[in-house]
């Protein structure tokens, strides 16, 4: 019987959602293949979420050490590659998160096993895993095969799978010793820093008027600000608007910004990249205005308007005055 590995991600004593999402998918794969599900936890001493993981796996391999409390690619790679060599898991799932992106490619070179990144689905055909990926800003999907190997590595996109637990697993927790030959890390953790706080809190708003790169230039932000005020909502934005310094960081919605849960989210000139959309899964109703009828935002919005955003902004302002 084969095995599937899930490398769980955690930070500051908290299990991250992506871990549960990977475990959900791994459970589905294991059920189809009659494989066992092994979660791998590399962390500090007595991480508080071990049970949360055990409920979702057949086995939890735990390697604990102060040096592993914060993520470190050199150390994680060292430990994981020897676990993979020993267990030969059919697939090892890792997150397509900043940490996963730092780890998975180096693990692939180190072990020689093929890697497919940023998978939104994983299929098994004729006993081989296939990755389903989104490319060209989500306008095209691709199905990708991996070179024949004993083990396959895949990273999983956030929010691609539900984080739900599945009944009936009560994994055994197995503590392993830290390998004696751990390498000297070439990168050292210093500290975390919170860059997200600011003058307004978009996470509490009932109504968000959100602007994307489609706004074109800094001067065009003003009419949207006025609209947000007229509507009694708050102004939020996508990442490029922050990157270009058109608005401060605390307005940003998405994986590297804030997750928001307004009753209504109005998206103007936002294409709908997954890193953005992952921040609005909690929104009640999404209304998107975009010139491009094929923009992926229309796949997640409840209502869509295919038009120049400024036509709609002006018309809304007129109706409100």
């Amino acid at each position: 019987m084969g095995e599937i590995f899930v490398l769980v991600e955690h930070r500051q004593g908290v299990l991250r959602d992506i871990s549960c999402e990977m475990l959900w998918k791994a459970n589905e794969l294991c059920t189809g293949l009659s494989h066992t599900l092994t979660a791998v936890l590399l962390g500090g001493k007595d991480e508080p979420f071990v049970n949360e993981i055990a409920e979702r796996a057949d086995k939890v391999l735990v390697v604990e050490d102060d040096r592993l409390e914060a993520f470190n690619a050199d150390l994680y790679k060292g430990i994981l590659s020897s676990l993979i060599q020993e267990h030969k898991p059919f697939i090892t799932l890792m997150p397509q998160s900043p940490w996963g992106m730092d780890l998975a490619p180096s693990l692939s070179v180190k072990t020689g096993f093929p890697l497919a990144t940023d998978c939104v689905d994983i299929l098994v055909e004729d006993g081989k895993p296939k990755a389903v990926r989104q490319i060209y800003n989500g306008k095209i999907f691709s199905k990708v095969a991996l070179r024949d190997a004993d083990c396959y590595l895949m990273t999983v996109r956030a929010s691609a799978f539900p984080p739900d637990a599945v009944e009936g697993r009560a994994g055994e927790v197995v503590k392993l010793d830290v390998p004696a030959d751990l390498p000297e890390p070439r990168r050292e953790f210093v500290k975390f820093e919170d860059a997200g706080a600011g003058a307004v809190d978009i996470t509490q708003a009932d109504l968000l008027v959100s602007v994307g790169r489609g706004v074109g230039e800094a001067d065009n932000i003003e009419p949207l600000k006025e609209l947000a005020e007229k509507m009694g909502g708050l102004l939020s934005c996508s990442r490029p608007v922050v990157d270009k310094h058109w608005l401060p960081k605390y307005h940003q919605v998405g994986t590297s910004g804030k997750s928001v849960k307004p009753k209504v989210y109005l998206a103007f000139g936002i294409s709908g990249a997954f890193q953005h959309v992952a921040g609005i899964t909690g929104a009640g109703t999404v209304i998107a205005v975009n010139k491009d009828k094929k923009a992926p935002i229309f796949r997640v919005a409840n209502y869509g308007i295919v038009d120049d955003m400024f036509n709609v902004v002006e018309a809304l302002k007129e109706q409100l005055s």
Binding site: A104, T117, E188, V264, N302, Y303, D307
Partner: protein, 259 residues
């Protein structure tokens, strides 16, 4: 600091109806306009700012066709000293193959830093930078939003989720993948590009790098491209702007938001 920066030319896909070609494994490219990958634009700017602070040279490298030289000229106009294009011919390349080629190019240079983008806008692999680091046996950091050179190493800011940053210290030489927003990329004029035409741009045929065929075998192959599966999708509001605005306000009120 001597810095190598890896860049790629990518198609612009906003407001474009992409079509899948006859092979079923690629998009029809003839109608597309191309630009320097957004993440790479920030990487080049970062390399040049570091050079302006610390001295040294910046070399821009791409693996691509003659058409892709356009992005190298842009890098030269931004302030890179030299550019290299490796011509891969028409062999299939995935992230692994590209990283092997880049590693061979970089090994022949003196470098303190190699910068890549976090990901390419078209294929979204997000892997070439870290694969390259491992081939060079160099330390690395992905999704970098700040670099602060210190003796023998560099302070590095990595962006995590939810507005959280991670500060760390990395030994040099290192490979860093650069995230958007790390700086404000400078404007490049047509004049600037013309002026930079005098700078050195070397073309290296892949064969000259002497990489064995085995190492140039992709670890992944595309089986098919397809359009996103149908979802319910948005209900499209029709009518002129005034009528659309009216409908929007009605929906907002129905959802219990008072305006």
């Amino acid at each position: 600091m001597n810095i190598v920066v890896c860049v790629k030319r990518v198609p612009m896909t906003q407001e474009v109806d992409l079509e899948i070609d006859a092979s079923g494994k690629d998009v029809k490219a003839d109608m597309l306009a191309y630009v320097l990958n957004e993440w790479d634009n920030y990487a080049v700017e970062e390399a040049i700012q570091l050079k302006e602070k610390t001295g040294g040279t910046v070399v821009a490298v791409t693996i691509g066709s003659e058409d892709d030289e356009e992005v190298l000229r842009r890098c030269l106009a931004m302030g890179a000293d030299k550019a290299v294009r490796v011509d891969p011919g028409d062999r299939p390349m995935d992230g692994l193959v590209k990283s092997r080629i880049l590693a061979e190019v970089v090994k022949g240079m003196e470098y303190d830093l190699v910068l890549t983008g976090v990901q390419s806008d078209d294929v979204n692999d997000g892997m070439v930078g870290v694969l390259l680091a491992e081939q060079l046996d160099a330390p690395h950091a992905a999704v970098v939003t700040g670099i602060d050179p210190q003796d023998g190493g560099a302070g590095v800011k990595v962006e995590l989720e939810g507005g959280m940053d991670e500060l760390s210290r990395v030994n040099l030489p290192a490979v860093l993948s650069i995230q958007t927003g790390i700086n404000e990329p400078r404007y490049v004029s047509i004049m600037g590009i013309r002026k930079a035409a005098k700078k050195e741009l070397n073309v290296v045929p892949l064969a000259d790098l002497g990489i064995d065929e085995d190492a140039l075998t992709p670890m992944t192959t595309v089986e098919e491209y397809f359009f996103p599966p149908e979802t319910e999708g948005a209900e499209i509001l029709e009518g002129d702007a005034a009528s659309v605005a009216e409908q929007i306000l009605k929906i907002i009120k129905e959802k219990g938001v008072s305006i």
